[in-house]
Subunit: 231 residues, 2 copies
């Protein structure tokens, strides 16, 4: 997932913060925890499309790192007296649905999804973390720490689109679809779990700032597109 720097730039000591015992924080941790588990299984599934052993191993390493992040969240929930598995259950359908709607059909699509999808998810979660107490935001940042394997994604996608303009157009389209689907599914998720809306509104700096909130997701996405040579 992306580096925590984008959250730091949003940290503002004057921003009102959600109290540390707000029950929605348990939900937010549980949502993130299941996002890691779902990412683990998706990456492992998609590794089947890898053209060689090196690609399969890179995907396996990324997947293993997601479970490390899951454990950070599980431990944080345990300290709050919450059982992670029970707390995650209600978020299973939304996240499985998101992945079902964005199943890659090629190895390159899988790589782009890893890079673009994770950046979007991180931008979303880190903006929310911006409205949470520092000790809570720290857990979120630890759970979203860079897995350190994304350089291989950038190298492989860039090589493919340099070799083929058609591939470039296909992947640019795929990337836009991922963005649209992420925003749509995030909105559904909020509509179904209104306790989370509080956190988003705090993170955005109030209801009036929601446009800024979504603009920042767009910016995170555009940056990743540029990294991949797809903008």
């Amino acid at each position: 997932m992306t580096s925590p720097s984008s959250a730091d730039q949003m940290a503002d000591p004057s921003t009102p913060r959600v109290p540390a015992d707000h029950p929605a924080i348990d939900d937010f941790f549980a949502l993130l925890a299941y996002a890691e588990v779902a990412a683990f299984y998706r990456l492992t599934d998609e590794a089947r499309m890898a053209p060689n052993l090196r690609g399969r191993i890179s995907m396996a390493s990324m997947a293993a790192a997601e479970m490390g992040h899951y454990e950070v969240l599980r431990d944080a929930l345990e300290r709050r007296g919450v059982d992670v598995v029970s707390a995650m259950s209600k978020f299973v359908p939304a996240l499985e649905n998101y992945h079902r709607l964005t199943t890659p059909s090629t190895w390159l699509e899988a790589l782009v999804k890893t890079y673009v999808g994770d950046a979007l998810a991180s931008a979303l979660y880190l903006q929310i973390a911006g409205g949470l107490p520092e000790e809570i935001a720290d857990v979120v940042r630890a759970a979203l720490a860079e897995t350190g394997h994304s350089q291989f994604v950038v190298a492989e996608v860039r090589a493919a689109i340099t070799a083929s303009g058609k591939q470039r157009s296909r992947l640019a389209l795929w990337s836009r679809r991922l963005f649209g689907e992420t925003i749509t599914q995030a909105q559904y998720l909020l509509a179904d779990h209104d306790q989370l809306v509080d956190l988003v509104v705090f993170g955005a700096g109030g209801l009036g700032q929601l446009t800024t909130f979504f603009n920042r997701l767009q910016e995170a996405h555009d940056q990743r597109m540029r990294d991949l040579g797809l903008s």
Copy 2:
């Protein structure tokens, strides 16, 4: 995988040891490295049979730990100037074949395979490590360190066989089949890679001790069967 204690009891300062620059050590590390990758993918596949989210997550955590062990071996090979992916390739068919021949058909069979299969593999590798220089044996022990998740396997299998005598007989039979297949496949592997035979002979304390070598595998297996209530 099993704890390193069983290797310690075999360490004997009078045993002749393979020199640290023996080329078969690269092969041995590469074999172990691919064993970890293969275990990662197998555990993730088998997690599909889990009856619930808790089981799927336990399997994912075990799989992630295998990738941590893989990284220990990859780093050790890098320090020896060897590219792990190239070095592993020749062991892919043997390990995939072993897993193909021992594919579990139920969740309980998958759990038993995890517990019994890993113990056998560890006993095998740690006996070989017993004939290697200390710094090499240390890498092997680090790569085989207990993943710390096996208690859930013992609890789940014991509950199932207490509830059903038929299940107990089935799983005891399955466990014996795993043992037989492991020995057979280990022998094929040695026949195809005779540079590894040197290491086994050193680890066993000479050709005349090979019976002891296989007896110790049997002992490791029997211990796991007792742990599971299957003996």
